[in-house]
């Protein structure tokens, strides 16, 4: 009797310990974000307190109204980030899956060489191309433009998208393609009518991955679009605002930072499945 009792007790205790440790670790992961959200709702005297306050004693939206009124640029950076990220996703998925389609379903001369070039370039750290890229964009008058950044991001994410979509398209049964050909579909029509619908979940996985990469990218955005505000994206813009406002008003900064990460976190919570699949596929391949 006693032995069974102790065994059960041990089991419960180890279970409780497991959840305790997991709760603490998870708290460490998300507390910084919670702290920013809560701090953005605090009045000034609580923000500039030398003692730890987690929950605000008084809630205020003052920081947000101040931000809207005084923080010039934030809206523009936001818009730029959305445009570049969405543009990159659309372009990468289209161009990448088209190439993956050709590589997965056709035998043609040069296919192997193409694969090797993609693979080889993936091995080289992207930062190596920073200087060449700057020169290139400068030559084509694409510095400080959203187009330039979108094209660069598309190129960076292309190899990965091709690899993800390649394995998706290879899994499509040949009979479907044959049937479509018999019905008189061109290869181009087959791509749109069969491959794209069947590869939808793969596209979603690759798409979320590309979106995340474009939305968060820093060093190229910093280098290529840093002369004017026009095409500056959010990560670089936030860093700039931090430099300008840190001696003036932390509340406004908390508000802007909170607005910059909240949409991505919410998006992630909804598209979790694809995020995870895309990221693991990407990491294992890369």
């Amino acid at each position: 009797m006693m032995v069974i009792f102790f065994d059960k007790l041990k089991k419960y205790l180890s279970r409780a310990l497991l959840y305790l440790v997991l709760t603490v670790v998870s708290a460490v992961s998300i507390l910084p974000f919670l702290w920013v959200i809560l701090s953005s709702l605090k009045p000034h005297d609580e923000l500039y307190s030398k003692h730890l306050t987690f929950l605000p004693h008084h809630y205020t939206l003052h920081n947000y109204t101040q931000m809207v009124q005084r923080m010039v640029g934030f809206g523009l950076y936001y818009r730029n980030s959305v445009l570049v990220s969405v543009g990159t996703v659309v372009l990468t998925l289209f161009v990448g899956s088209l190439a993956a389609y050709a590589l997965a379903r056709f035998r043609f001369r040069g296919a192997q060489a193409l694969f090797l070039i993609f693979l080889g370039t993936m091995m080289v750290p992207g930062e190596v191309g920073l200087i060449g890229q700057y020169e290139l964009l400068s030559a084509y008058k694409l510095l400080n433009t959203l187009t330039g950044l979108t094209l660069s991001y598309t190129a960076f994410n292309l190899a990965l998208t091709v690899f993800v979509m390649y394995s998706v398209f290879q899994a499509v049964p040949q009979e479907l393609l044959d049937a479509a050909r018999v019905d008189g579909c061109s290869w181009w029509e087959t791509f749109w009518q069969i491959m794209i619908p069947l590869g939808a979940s793969g596209l979603a996985a690759a798409g979320t991955l590309v979106f995340l990469a474009a939305w968060n990218e820093f060093i190229f955005a910093l280098t290529m679009n840093n002369w004017t505000d026009e095409a500056r994206t959010l990560p670089v813009g936030i860093q700039l605002l931090q430099g300008q406002w840190q001696h003036w008003d932390y509340g406004v900064l908390f508000a802007s930072v909170m607005l910059s990460f909240l949409p991505v976190i919410i998006l992630f919570l909804f598209l979790q499945k694809y995020f995870m699949r895309g990221l693991t596929a990407g990491a294992v391949k890369g």
Binding site: L18, I30, P32, W35, I131, F218, Q239
Partner: protein, 335 residues
């Protein structure tokens, strides 16, 4: 109507848009122009003395830039082995080797050494901690999904944004760390990001925090590939939880551990954003990384030395390549 139809089909027979070459062409053009070309161009430029603002003065210097790098104090200087100064407490004596190791790793040097010491501080916790986290999340049953999601949140937020948040966490007056320490009664004030002894560990701590979720996910994928029967068989044979972990799970997980380690290593050697935002490479050059230095050489110091910066970039790429190759060799031999 029929005439145009014929015309179209006639054109199709000659040059058709319906071919794999046409399908790969856009990708090839984009990739070639914006990915491959810049990399090769950087390699080419690394053999030239080249100021972007004065292209007419560009001239070939062979390996001159690489030679300059080897003599550049800000890249190559190394503090040497640091031993503890003064009298040691009794409990410190058995820890002496670790003390020397820590003091050495925590001593600033040139950009190359700083990158190495960042890597040495970052990789071990970034490989080990998420492993334990993943094993625990895997065991959490119904709540496993929730814990996985919570720990993954930092991964989806831009490093630029998390760096800024951590600057505030480390703020000497109002930051969470210092206010909490103050409330706990600690008298000493820490200036985390401005103290040459604290800046690098502070940045590393933030990076480990940021890497936890992603590495955890990789481990979880690896753990799912291990058949449940194997672990259960060991259980039936009377192994305890720890014995199953060390004897069965970990050996089967070795490929994943290697993958996580390699990705952490490569990522660490390329570190830039965290330092650029949180410390700017300072105080002094104590957190100046290779990528940060080459960025500064190319775009910050006002001289647009694209040749030298390209050489720094390619030297780093070669170093990463060699280190990866060695890691592959070692993991092969183990198997």
């Amino acid at each position: 109507m029929s005439a145009t139809g014929e015309k179209l089909s006639g054109r199709r027979r000659g040059f058709t848009l319906d071919s794999p070459y046409v399908f790969v062409l856009p990708a090839l053009i984009l990739f070639g122009m914006f990915s491959l070309y810049p990399i090769l161009r950087s390699l080419y430029l690394s053999f030239f003395d080249y100021n972007f603002l004065r292209p007419e003065q560009m001239h070939f210097v062979g390996l001159g830039n690489y030679r300059e790098m080897l003599h550049d104090e800000r890249v190559m200087s190394w503090p040497g082995i640091i031993t503890p100064q003064g009298h040691l407490a009794w409990w410190q004596i058995p820890l002496y080797p670790f003390l020397v190791l820590w003091l050495t790793i925590n001593s600033p040097g040139g950009a190359f050494w700083n990158t190495i010491r960042f890597t040495l501080m970052f990789v071990p916790p970034a490989v080990v901690l998420p492993l334990f986290l993943a094993v625990m999340v895997d065991k959490a049953g119904r709540l496993s999904g929730l814990f996985r999601t919570l720990n993954f949140v930092p991964v989806v937020v831009s490093v630029a944004v998390t760096s800024i948040i951590w600057m505030w966490i480390y703020h000497p007056d109002y930051g969470v760390v210092n206010t909490a320490l103050r409330d706990l009664g600690v008298k000493r004030e820490f200036d985390w990001l401005s103290d040459p002894k604290l800046a690098m560990p502070a940045v590393v701590a933030m990076c480990v925090w940021g890497a936890m979720g992603f590495n955890m996910l990789l481990y979880l994928v690896g753990l799912q590939r291990i058949p449940v029967e194997v672990q259960e068989a060991a259980r039936v044979d009377g192994a305890t939880g720890w014995q199953v972990f060390w004897g069965v799970t970990l050996p089967l997980l070795r490929p994943t551990v290697f993958l996580v380690g390699l990705l952490a290593l490569i990522g660490a050697l390329k570190v830039f954003t965290q330092m650029f935002i949180m410390t700017g490479g300072g105080p002094g050059d104590s957190t100046l990384s290779m990528v940060l230095y080459l960025y500064n050489i190319a775009f910050r110091y006002g001289r647009f030395r694209f040749g030298y910066a390209s050489a720094l970039a390619w030297a780093l790429a070669l170093f990463i390549f060699v280190v990866s190759l060695i890691s592959f060799r070692i993991s092969r031999e183990r198997e």
